[in-house]
Symmetry: C2
Subunit: 235 residues, 2 copies
DNA sequence: CAGCTAAGTTAGGCGATCCTAAAATCAAAG
DNA sequence: CTTTGATTTTAGGATCGCCTAACTTAGCTG
Protein backbone atom coordinates (compact mmCIF):
# COMPACT_ATOMS: atom_id res chain seq x y z
CA UNK A 1 0.00 0.00 0.00
CA UNK A 2 2.50 2.54 -1.09
CA UNK A 3 0.09 4.79 -2.91
CA UNK A 4 1.19 8.18 -4.12
CA UNK A 5 3.35 7.25 -7.08
CA UNK A 6 3.05 7.01 -10.82
CA UNK A 7 2.31 3.90 -12.70
CA UNK A 8 5.30 2.32 -14.37
CA UNK A 9 7.77 0.36 -12.37
CA UNK A 10 11.11 2.06 -12.01
CA UNK A 11 12.56 5.43 -13.00
CA UNK A 12 13.48 3.78 -16.29
CA UNK A 13 17.17 3.82 -17.10
CA UNK A 14 17.24 7.60 -17.09
CA UNK A 15 14.17 9.57 -16.24
CA UNK A 16 10.99 9.53 -14.24
CA UNK A 17 8.47 6.78 -14.78
CA UNK A 18 6.07 7.19 -17.65
CA UNK A 19 2.34 6.81 -17.28
CA UNK A 20 0.70 3.82 -18.90
CA UNK A 21 -0.96 5.96 -21.58
CA UNK A 22 2.37 7.62 -22.40
CA UNK A 23 3.96 4.20 -22.86
CA UNK A 24 1.12 3.21 -25.15
CA UNK A 25 1.59 6.31 -27.27
CA UNK A 26 5.30 5.66 -27.60
CA UNK A 27 4.68 2.07 -28.68
CA UNK A 28 2.18 3.26 -31.26
CA UNK A 29 4.52 5.92 -32.59
CA UNK A 30 7.34 3.41 -32.75
CA UNK A 31 5.19 1.02 -34.76
CA UNK A 32 4.20 3.74 -37.20
CA UNK A 33 7.79 4.87 -37.65
CA UNK A 34 8.73 1.35 -38.70
CA UNK A 35 7.10 2.29 -41.99
CA UNK A 36 9.65 5.05 -42.27
CA UNK A 37 7.29 7.95 -41.86
CA UNK A 38 6.68 10.44 -39.10
CA UNK A 39 3.69 9.38 -37.05
CA UNK A 40 0.58 11.31 -38.04
CA UNK A 41 -1.92 12.35 -35.41
CA UNK A 42 -4.64 10.36 -37.09
CA UNK A 43 -2.60 7.18 -37.25
CA UNK A 44 -1.75 7.38 -33.59
CA UNK A 45 -5.37 8.02 -32.74
CA UNK A 46 -6.52 5.06 -34.78
CA UNK A 47 -4.02 2.66 -33.24
CA UNK A 48 -4.96 3.69 -29.75
CA UNK A 49 -8.68 3.89 -30.52
CA UNK A 50 -8.97 7.42 -29.20
CA UNK A 51 -10.08 10.70 -30.75
CA UNK A 52 -7.47 12.58 -32.82
CA UNK A 53 -8.02 15.65 -30.68
CA UNK A 54 -6.80 13.70 -27.66
CA UNK A 55 -3.59 12.90 -29.44
CA UNK A 56 -2.60 16.53 -29.94
CA UNK A 57 -2.61 17.06 -26.21
CA UNK A 58 -0.64 13.99 -25.25
CA UNK A 59 1.86 14.49 -28.02
CA UNK A 60 2.56 17.93 -26.66
CA UNK A 61 3.15 16.44 -23.25
CA UNK A 62 5.48 13.81 -24.68
CA UNK A 63 7.40 16.57 -26.46
CA UNK A 64 7.69 18.48 -23.19
CA UNK A 65 9.29 15.41 -21.68
CA UNK A 66 11.72 15.14 -24.57
CA UNK A 67 10.32 11.86 -25.81
CA UNK A 68 9.23 13.03 -29.24
CA UNK A 69 9.96 15.86 -31.60
CA UNK A 70 6.78 17.58 -32.51
CA UNK A 71 6.04 20.21 -35.10
CA UNK A 72 2.43 21.27 -35.42
CA UNK A 73 0.69 19.71 -38.38
CA UNK A 74 3.84 17.73 -39.19
CA UNK A 75 3.48 14.62 -37.09
CA UNK A 76 5.89 13.37 -34.45
CA UNK A 77 9.15 11.49 -34.37
CA UNK A 78 10.62 9.66 -31.44
CA UNK A 79 13.74 11.11 -29.90
CA UNK A 80 16.45 8.69 -28.85
CA UNK A 81 15.02 8.80 -25.36
CA UNK A 82 11.53 8.15 -26.68
CA UNK A 83 12.71 5.27 -28.81
CA UNK A 84 14.47 3.76 -25.83
CA UNK A 85 11.29 3.99 -23.79
CA UNK A 86 9.25 2.45 -26.60
CA UNK A 87 11.65 -0.45 -26.96
CA UNK A 88 11.66 -0.98 -23.25
CA UNK A 89 7.88 -1.29 -23.26
CA UNK A 90 8.00 -3.53 -26.30
CA UNK A 91 10.50 -5.77 -24.56
CA UNK A 92 8.24 -5.99 -21.55
CA UNK A 93 5.24 -6.81 -23.64
CA UNK A 94 6.91 -9.52 -25.62
CA UNK A 95 8.78 -11.11 -22.77
CA UNK A 96 5.53 -11.28 -20.85
CA UNK A 97 3.77 -12.89 -23.81
CA UNK A 98 6.52 -15.45 -24.19
CA UNK A 99 6.52 -16.17 -20.48
CA UNK A 100 2.77 -16.64 -20.32
CA UNK A 101 2.93 -19.19 -23.11
CA UNK A 102 6.02 -21.08 -22.04
CA UNK A 103 5.75 -20.97 -18.27
CA UNK A 104 2.05 -20.66 -17.59
CA UNK A 105 0.43 -22.59 -20.39
CA UNK A 106 -1.39 -19.72 -22.05
CA UNK A 107 -2.54 -20.10 -25.64
CA UNK A 108 -0.94 -17.65 -28.06
CA UNK A 109 -4.34 -16.11 -28.73
CA UNK A 110 -4.83 -14.96 -25.15
CA UNK A 111 -1.53 -13.40 -24.21
CA UNK A 112 -1.85 -10.04 -25.89
CA UNK A 113 -4.41 -8.45 -23.62
CA UNK A 114 -2.80 -9.75 -20.49
CA UNK A 115 0.59 -8.43 -21.58
CA UNK A 116 -0.96 -5.12 -22.53
CA UNK A 117 -1.82 -4.54 -18.89
CA UNK A 118 1.17 -6.15 -17.21
CA UNK A 119 3.74 -4.34 -19.33
CA UNK A 120 3.00 -1.14 -17.45
CA UNK A 121 3.27 -2.68 -14.03
CA UNK A 122 6.22 -5.06 -14.19
CA UNK A 123 9.66 -3.97 -13.02
CA UNK A 124 12.73 -4.40 -15.20
CA UNK A 125 13.92 -7.01 -12.80
CA UNK A 126 10.78 -9.07 -13.17
CA UNK A 127 11.00 -8.92 -16.94
CA UNK A 128 14.62 -10.03 -16.88
CA UNK A 129 13.85 -12.88 -14.53
CA UNK A 130 11.01 -14.04 -16.70
CA UNK A 131 13.22 -13.92 -19.76
CA UNK A 132 15.89 -15.88 -17.96
CA UNK A 133 13.52 -18.58 -16.74
CA UNK A 134 12.29 -19.31 -20.26
CA UNK A 135 15.76 -19.20 -21.76
CA UNK A 136 16.13 -15.65 -23.05
CA UNK A 137 13.72 -15.93 -25.94
CA UNK A 138 14.47 -13.96 -29.08
CA UNK A 139 10.88 -13.62 -30.26
CA UNK A 140 7.46 -13.59 -28.69
CA UNK A 141 4.92 -16.34 -29.44
CA UNK A 142 3.80 -14.58 -32.61
CA UNK A 143 7.33 -14.26 -33.92
CA UNK A 144 7.84 -10.61 -33.03
CA UNK A 145 11.44 -9.86 -32.08
CA UNK A 146 12.17 -9.08 -28.44
CA UNK A 147 14.41 -6.06 -27.84
CA UNK A 148 17.43 -6.75 -25.66
CA UNK A 149 17.87 -5.21 -22.24
CA UNK A 150 20.06 -2.65 -23.98
CA UNK A 151 17.35 -1.72 -26.43
CA UNK A 152 18.61 -3.43 -29.56
CA UNK A 153 16.07 -5.07 -31.76
CA UNK A 154 16.20 -7.16 -34.92
CA UNK A 155 13.21 -5.87 -36.80
CA UNK A 156 11.35 -8.43 -38.87
CA UNK A 157 11.42 -8.01 -42.65
CA UNK A 158 8.15 -6.77 -44.05
CA UNK A 159 7.46 -9.46 -46.67
CA UNK A 160 4.08 -11.04 -46.29
CA UNK A 161 2.48 -14.11 -47.69
CA UNK A 162 0.38 -11.80 -49.83
CA UNK A 163 3.56 -10.65 -51.59
CA UNK A 164 4.91 -14.16 -52.26
CA UNK A 165 5.27 -15.43 -55.80
CA UNK A 166 3.06 -18.28 -56.91
CA UNK A 167 5.04 -21.48 -56.66
CA UNK A 168 7.45 -20.11 -54.06
CA UNK A 169 8.00 -21.66 -50.68
CA UNK A 170 8.42 -19.39 -47.69
CA UNK A 171 9.01 -19.65 -43.99
CA UNK A 172 6.47 -18.08 -41.67
CA UNK A 173 8.36 -15.64 -39.48
CA UNK A 174 5.69 -13.75 -37.66
CA UNK A 175 1.97 -13.16 -37.52
CA UNK A 176 -0.16 -10.25 -36.44
CA UNK A 177 -0.92 -10.66 -32.74
CA UNK A 178 -3.94 -8.65 -31.73
CA UNK A 179 -6.93 -10.63 -32.93
CA UNK A 180 -7.47 -13.78 -30.86
CA UNK A 181 -9.96 -15.23 -33.31
CA UNK A 182 -7.56 -14.84 -36.19
CA UNK A 183 -4.78 -16.41 -34.16
CA UNK A 184 -6.91 -19.43 -33.38
CA UNK A 185 -7.71 -19.77 -37.06
CA UNK A 186 -4.08 -19.43 -38.11
CA UNK A 187 -3.22 -22.03 -35.51
CA UNK A 188 -5.77 -24.43 -36.92
CA UNK A 189 -4.20 -24.00 -40.35
CA UNK A 190 -0.71 -24.52 -39.02
CA UNK A 191 0.23 -21.01 -40.11
CA UNK A 192 2.60 -20.18 -37.31
CA UNK A 193 6.18 -19.03 -37.01
CA UNK A 194 8.49 -21.76 -38.24
CA UNK A 195 6.00 -23.30 -40.66
CA UNK A 196 6.95 -23.70 -44.30
CA UNK A 197 4.30 -22.60 -46.75
CA UNK A 198 4.11 -22.98 -50.48
CA UNK A 199 1.89 -20.62 -52.40
CA UNK A 200 0.38 -22.81 -55.08
CA UNK A 201 -2.19 -20.48 -56.55
CA UNK A 202 -3.46 -16.95 -56.42
CA UNK A 203 -6.91 -16.17 -57.74
CA UNK A 204 -7.16 -13.01 -59.79
CA UNK A 205 -8.57 -9.69 -58.60
CA UNK A 206 -7.14 -9.96 -55.13
CA UNK A 207 -8.72 -13.37 -54.75
CA UNK A 208 -7.94 -16.13 -52.29
CA UNK A 209 -4.52 -17.74 -52.08
CA UNK A 210 -4.10 -21.48 -52.13
CA UNK A 211 -1.42 -22.68 -49.74
CA UNK A 212 0.33 -25.93 -49.06
CA UNK A 213 1.39 -26.30 -45.45
CA UNK A 214 3.02 -29.66 -44.85
CA UNK A 215 0.51 -32.23 -46.09
CA UNK A 216 -2.40 -29.88 -45.91
CA UNK A 217 -3.84 -27.41 -48.33
CA UNK A 218 -5.96 -24.39 -47.61
CA UNK A 219 -7.27 -21.22 -49.09
CA UNK A 220 -7.01 -17.86 -47.38
CA UNK A 221 -8.07 -14.35 -48.28
CA UNK A 222 -5.44 -11.83 -49.25
CA UNK A 223 -6.06 -9.66 -46.21
CA UNK A 224 -5.33 -12.59 -43.93
CA UNK A 225 -2.25 -13.45 -46.00
CA UNK A 226 -1.07 -9.87 -45.55
CA UNK A 227 -0.93 -10.47 -41.81
CA UNK A 228 1.50 -13.34 -42.14
CA UNK A 229 5.09 -12.22 -42.43
CA UNK A 230 7.41 -14.58 -44.24
CA UNK A 231 11.04 -14.98 -45.25
CA UNK A 232 12.46 -17.01 -48.14
CA UNK A 233 12.66 -20.69 -47.16
CA UNK A 234 16.21 -21.98 -46.77
CA UNK A 235 16.02 -24.25 -49.76
CA UNK B 1 -2.70 -1.55 -27.90
CA UNK B 2 -6.28 -1.73 -26.87
CA UNK B 3 -6.33 1.50 -24.96
CA UNK B 4 -9.61 2.96 -23.84
CA UNK B 5 -10.45 0.87 -20.78
CA UNK B 6 -10.12 1.02 -17.06
CA UNK B 7 -7.30 -0.43 -15.09
CA UNK B 8 -8.20 -3.67 -13.38
CA UNK B 9 -8.38 -6.83 -15.36
CA UNK B 10 -11.89 -8.19 -15.69
CA UNK B 11 -15.37 -7.04 -14.70
CA UNK B 12 -14.75 -8.76 -11.40
CA UNK B 13 -17.23 -11.52 -10.58
CA UNK B 14 -20.11 -9.05 -10.55
CA UNK B 15 -19.60 -5.44 -11.44
CA UNK B 16 -17.44 -3.12 -13.45
CA UNK B 17 -13.72 -3.06 -12.94
CA UNK B 18 -12.42 -0.97 -10.08
CA UNK B 19 -9.66 1.55 -10.49
CA UNK B 20 -6.32 0.81 -8.90
CA UNK B 21 -6.80 3.51 -6.24
CA UNK B 22 -10.24 2.13 -5.39
CA UNK B 23 -8.76 -1.33 -4.89
CA UNK B 24 -6.11 0.15 -2.64
CA UNK B 25 -8.72 1.90 -0.52
CA UNK B 26 -10.70 -1.31 -0.14
CA UNK B 27 -7.61 -3.21 0.94
CA UNK B 28 -6.82 -0.53 3.49
CA UNK B 29 -10.35 -0.49 4.84
CA UNK B 30 -10.35 -4.27 5.07
CA UNK B 31 -7.12 -4.22 7.04
CA UNK B 32 -8.48 -1.64 9.47
CA UNK B 33 -11.71 -3.56 9.94
CA UNK B 34 -9.71 -6.60 11.03
CA UNK B 35 -9.30 -4.72 14.29
CA UNK B 36 -13.06 -4.79 14.59
CA UNK B 37 -13.63 -1.09 14.15
CA UNK B 38 -15.11 0.99 11.36
CA UNK B 39 -12.35 2.49 9.29
CA UNK B 40 -11.70 6.11 10.24
CA UNK B 41 -10.82 8.63 7.57
CA UNK B 42 -7.52 9.35 9.21
CA UNK B 43 -6.52 5.72 9.42
CA UNK B 44 -7.24 5.18 5.77
CA UNK B 45 -5.32 8.31 4.87
CA UNK B 46 -2.35 7.21 6.89
CA UNK B 47 -2.22 3.74 5.40
CA UNK B 48 -2.39 5.08 1.89
CA UNK B 49 -0.07 7.99 2.61
CA UNK B 50 -2.52 10.55 1.30
CA UNK B 51 -4.22 13.59 2.82
CA UNK B 52 -7.34 12.92 4.91
CA UNK B 53 -9.28 15.36 2.75
CA UNK B 54 -8.68 13.13 -0.24
CA UNK B 55 -10.17 10.19 1.57
CA UNK B 56 -13.54 11.86 2.09
CA UNK B 57 -13.99 12.18 -1.65
CA UNK B 58 -12.99 8.66 -2.57
CA UNK B 59 -15.00 7.14 0.24
CA UNK B 60 -18.07 8.91 -1.08
CA UNK B 61 -17.39 7.44 -4.51
CA UNK B 62 -16.95 3.96 -3.05
CA UNK B 63 -20.25 4.38 -1.25
CA UNK B 64 -21.92 5.41 -4.50
CA UNK B 65 -20.70 2.16 -6.00
CA UNK B 66 -22.09 0.19 -3.10
CA UNK B 67 -18.69 -0.94 -1.87
CA UNK B 68 -18.83 0.70 1.54
CA UNK B 69 -21.38 2.04 3.95
CA UNK B 70 -20.54 5.57 4.83
CA UNK B 71 -21.98 7.88 7.42
CA UNK B 72 -20.43 11.32 7.72
CA UNK B 73 -18.00 11.60 10.60
CA UNK B 74 -18.61 7.93 11.47
CA UNK B 75 -16.11 6.13 9.31
CA UNK B 76 -16.80 3.47 6.71
CA UNK B 77 -17.57 -0.22 6.68
CA UNK B 78 -17.21 -2.57 3.76
CA UNK B 79 -20.39 -3.94 2.27
CA UNK B 80 -20.37 -7.59 1.26
CA UNK B 81 -19.54 -6.50 -2.25
CA UNK B 82 -16.73 -4.29 -0.99
CA UNK B 83 -15.35 -7.07 1.15
CA UNK B 84 -15.41 -9.44 -1.79
CA UNK B 85 -13.48 -6.94 -3.87
CA UNK B 86 -10.96 -6.40 -1.08
CA UNK B 87 -10.39 -10.12 -0.68
CA UNK B 88 -10.01 -10.52 -4.40
CA UNK B 89 -7.26 -7.92 -4.42
CA UNK B 90 -5.68 -9.46 -1.37
CA UNK B 91 -5.66 -12.84 -3.08
CA UNK B 92 -4.00 -11.33 -6.11
CA UNK B 93 -1.39 -9.62 -4.04
CA UNK B 94 -0.49 -12.64 -2.03
CA UNK B 95 -0.54 -15.14 -4.86
CA UNK B 96 1.76 -12.85 -6.78
CA UNK B 97 4.12 -12.58 -3.82
CA UNK B 98 4.19 -16.33 -3.41
CA UNK B 99 4.74 -16.87 -7.11
CA UNK B 100 7.59 -14.40 -7.29
CA UNK B 101 9.38 -16.18 -4.47
CA UNK B 102 8.70 -19.75 -5.49
CA UNK B 103 8.82 -19.53 -9.27
CA UNK B 104 11.06 -16.58 -9.98
CA UNK B 105 13.58 -16.62 -7.16
CA UNK B 106 12.67 -13.33 -5.55
CA UNK B 107 13.71 -12.64 -1.99
CA UNK B 108 10.83 -12.17 0.43
CA UNK B 109 11.94 -8.61 1.07
CA UNK B 110 11.40 -7.52 -2.54
CA UNK B 111 8.04 -8.95 -3.47
CA UNK B 112 5.75 -6.48 -1.81
CA UNK B 113 6.26 -3.51 -4.11
CA UNK B 114 6.16 -5.64 -7.23
CA UNK B 115 2.92 -7.27 -6.12
CA UNK B 116 1.50 -3.89 -5.22
CA UNK B 117 1.63 -2.91 -8.87
CA UNK B 118 0.84 -6.23 -10.51
CA UNK B 119 -2.22 -6.91 -8.38
CA UNK B 120 -4.10 -4.24 -10.30
CA UNK B 121 -3.13 -5.54 -13.72
CA UNK B 122 -3.32 -9.31 -13.51
CA UNK B 123 -6.42 -11.17 -14.68
CA UNK B 124 -8.16 -13.70 -12.48
CA UNK B 125 -7.00 -16.37 -14.82
CA UNK B 126 -3.36 -15.39 -14.47
CA UNK B 127 -3.63 -15.41 -10.70
CA UNK B 128 -5.24 -18.83 -10.72
CA UNK B 129 -2.59 -20.23 -13.04
CA UNK B 130 0.16 -18.83 -10.88
CA UNK B 131 -1.41 -20.37 -7.80
CA UNK B 132 -1.73 -23.69 -9.55
CA UNK B 133 1.88 -23.74 -10.76
CA UNK B 134 3.21 -23.26 -7.25
CA UNK B 135 0.81 -25.76 -5.73
CA UNK B 136 -2.08 -23.65 -4.45
CA UNK B 137 -0.25 -21.98 -1.59
CA UNK B 138 -2.20 -21.21 1.55
CA UNK B 139 -0.07 -18.30 2.69
CA UNK B 140 2.20 -15.74 1.08
CA UNK B 141 5.95 -15.65 1.83
CA UNK B 142 5.38 -13.63 4.98
CA UNK B 143 2.80 -16.03 6.31
CA UNK B 144 -0.27 -13.99 5.41
CA UNK B 145 -3.23 -16.18 4.50
CA UNK B 146 -4.31 -16.23 0.86
CA UNK B 147 -8.04 -15.89 0.26
CA UNK B 148 -9.54 -18.64 -1.88
CA UNK B 149 -11.00 -17.99 -5.31
CA UNK B 150 -14.36 -17.91 -3.56
CA UNK B 151 -13.24 -15.23 -1.15
CA UNK B 152 -12.80 -17.26 2.00
CA UNK B 153 -9.86 -16.42 4.19
CA UNK B 154 -8.40 -17.90 7.36
CA UNK B 155 -7.34 -14.79 9.21
CA UNK B 156 -4.19 -15.07 11.27
CA UNK B 157 -4.53 -14.80 15.04
CA UNK B 158 -3.27 -11.53 16.42
CA UNK B 159 -0.80 -12.77 19.06
CA UNK B 160 2.62 -11.29 18.64
CA UNK B 161 5.99 -12.12 20.04
CA UNK B 162 5.69 -8.99 22.15
CA UNK B 163 2.71 -10.59 23.92
CA UNK B 164 4.43 -13.91 24.63
CA UNK B 165 5.16 -14.97 28.18
CA UNK B 166 8.76 -15.21 29.29
CA UNK B 167 9.81 -18.83 29.08
CA UNK B 168 7.21 -19.75 26.49
CA UNK B 169 7.95 -21.24 23.12
CA UNK B 170 5.99 -20.08 20.14
CA UNK B 171 5.76 -20.73 16.45
CA UNK B 172 6.26 -17.82 14.08
CA UNK B 173 3.17 -17.64 11.90
CA UNK B 174 3.54 -14.41 10.03
CA UNK B 175 5.57 -11.25 9.87
CA UNK B 176 4.83 -7.73 8.73
CA UNK B 177 5.62 -7.47 5.06
CA UNK B 178 6.12 -3.90 3.99
CA UNK B 179 9.59 -2.96 5.17
CA UNK B 180 12.28 -4.69 3.11
CA UNK B 181 15.05 -3.75 5.54
CA UNK B 182 13.15 -5.25 8.44
CA UNK B 183 12.46 -8.40 6.45
CA UNK B 184 16.15 -8.82 5.66
CA UNK B 185 16.94 -8.40 9.33
CA UNK B 186 14.27 -10.87 10.42
CA UNK B 187 15.63 -13.28 7.84
CA UNK B 188 19.13 -12.96 9.24
CA UNK B 189 17.76 -13.80 12.69
CA UNK B 190 15.81 -16.76 11.38
CA UNK B 191 12.59 -15.13 12.47
CA UNK B 192 10.36 -16.36 9.68
CA UNK B 193 7.14 -18.30 9.44
CA UNK B 194 7.66 -21.83 10.72
CA UNK B 195 10.47 -20.96 13.10
CA UNK B 196 10.16 -21.88 16.77
CA UNK B 197 11.12 -19.15 19.16
CA UNK B 198 11.54 -19.20 22.88
CA UNK B 199 11.27 -15.95 24.77
CA UNK B 200 13.92 -16.26 27.43
CA UNK B 201 13.91 -12.78 28.87
CA UNK B 202 12.12 -9.48 28.71
CA UNK B 203 13.87 -6.36 29.97
CA UNK B 204 11.68 -4.01 32.00
CA UNK B 205 10.16 -0.76 30.75
CA UNK B 206 9.37 -2.08 27.35
CA UNK B 207 12.96 -3.15 26.92
CA UNK B 208 14.48 -5.63 24.51
CA UNK B 209 13.39 -9.26 24.38
CA UNK B 210 15.88 -12.06 24.43
CA UNK B 211 15.00 -14.88 22.09
CA UNK B 212 16.26 -18.37 21.44
CA UNK B 213 15.81 -19.46 17.83
CA UNK B 214 17.21 -22.89 17.25
CA UNK B 215 20.81 -22.75 18.48
CA UNK B 216 21.00 -18.98 18.24
CA UNK B 217 20.12 -16.24 20.66
CA UNK B 218 19.26 -12.68 19.89
CA UNK B 219 17.79 -9.56 21.34
CA UNK B 220 15.11 -7.54 19.64
CA UNK B 221 13.19 -4.40 20.51
CA UNK B 222 9.56 -4.68 21.49
CA UNK B 223 8.36 -2.82 18.43
CA UNK B 224 10.05 -5.35 16.19
CA UNK B 225 8.62 -8.18 18.28
CA UNK B 226 5.17 -6.68 17.83
CA UNK B 227 5.51 -7.23 14.11
CA UNK B 228 6.05 -10.94 14.47
CA UNK B 229 2.80 -12.89 14.80
CA UNK B 230 3.03 -16.16 16.67
CA UNK B 231 0.95 -19.13 17.72
CA UNK B 232 1.50 -21.50 20.65
CA UNK B 233 4.11 -24.11 19.66
CA UNK B 234 2.70 -27.60 19.35
CA UNK B 235 4.52 -28.96 22.40
C1' DC C 1 -3.76 30.44 -57.47
C1' DA C 2 -8.50 29.84 -55.39
C1' DG C 3 -11.04 26.57 -53.23
C1' DC C 4 -11.97 22.30 -51.29
C1' DT C 5 -11.06 18.40 -48.39
C1' DA C 6 -8.67 15.91 -45.18
C1' DA C 7 -5.94 16.32 -41.25
C1' DG C 8 -4.84 18.64 -37.14
C1' DT C 9 -5.50 21.92 -33.46
C1' DT C 10 -7.98 24.70 -30.13
C1' DA C 11 -11.81 25.45 -26.99
C1' DG C 12 -14.54 23.93 -23.53
C1' DG C 13 -15.97 19.90 -20.67
C1' DC C 14 -15.92 15.86 -17.66
C1' DG C 15 -14.40 12.42 -14.25
C1' DA C 16 -10.85 10.62 -11.27
C1' DT C 17 -7.58 11.55 -7.84
C1' DC C 18 -4.83 14.23 -5.39
C1' DC C 19 -3.64 18.74 -2.64
C1' DT C 20 -4.03 22.83 0.84
C1' DA C 21 -6.67 25.80 3.65
C1' DA C 22 -10.67 26.78 6.04
C1' DA C 23 -14.96 25.46 8.19
C1' DA C 24 -17.72 22.10 10.68
C1' DT C 25 -18.48 18.47 13.92
C1' DC C 26 -17.65 15.35 17.49
C1' DA C 27 -16.17 14.01 21.95
C1' DA C 28 -13.85 14.49 26.04
C1' DA C 29 -12.83 17.21 29.90
C1' DG C 30 -13.69 20.47 33.02
C1' DC D 1 -23.06 22.67 29.44
C1' DT D 2 -19.16 24.83 27.44
C1' DT D 3 -14.64 24.88 25.88
C1' DT D 4 -11.18 22.83 23.34
C1' DG D 5 -8.65 19.83 20.53
C1' DA D 6 -8.80 16.31 17.27
C1' DT D 7 -11.14 14.51 13.39
C1' DT D 8 -13.58 15.17 9.31
C1' DT D 9 -15.60 17.53 5.70
C1' DT D 10 -16.06 21.28 2.37
C1' DA D 11 -14.13 24.62 -0.80
C1' DG D 12 -11.27 25.59 -4.28
C1' DG D 13 -7.31 24.04 -7.28
C1' DA D 14 -4.25 21.26 -10.10
C1' DT D 15 -3.14 17.47 -13.33
C1' DC D 16 -4.00 13.79 -16.45
C1' DG D 17 -6.35 11.86 -20.10
C1' DC D 18 -10.20 11.58 -22.69
C1' DC D 19 -14.38 13.65 -25.48
C1' DT D 20 -17.13 16.67 -28.86
C1' DA D 21 -17.55 20.66 -31.57
C1' DA D 22 -15.70 24.21 -33.98
C1' DC D 23 -11.92 26.35 -36.21
C1' DT D 24 -7.37 26.27 -38.83
C1' DT D 25 -3.98 24.62 -41.89
C1' DA D 26 -1.84 22.01 -45.54
C1' DG D 27 -1.81 20.67 -49.84
C1' DC D 28 -3.95 18.89 -53.80
C1' DT D 29 -6.94 20.01 -57.77
C1' DG D 30 -8.99 22.41 -61.30
Amino acid sequence: MTGRKRNAAKPAPGGEPLTAPAEDYLKAIYAIELDGVAAATNDIAQRLAIAPASVSGMVQRLADHGLVEYERYRGVRLTDQGRRAALRTLRRHRVIEAYLVRALGYGWDRVHDEAERLEHAASDELIDRMAEVIGEPVTDPHGAPIPTREGKIAETPRWTLADAAVGSTTLVVRVSDEDPGMLRYLDSLGLKPGAEVTLTERAPFDGPLTLAIGQATCRVGSSLAARVLVAPARD
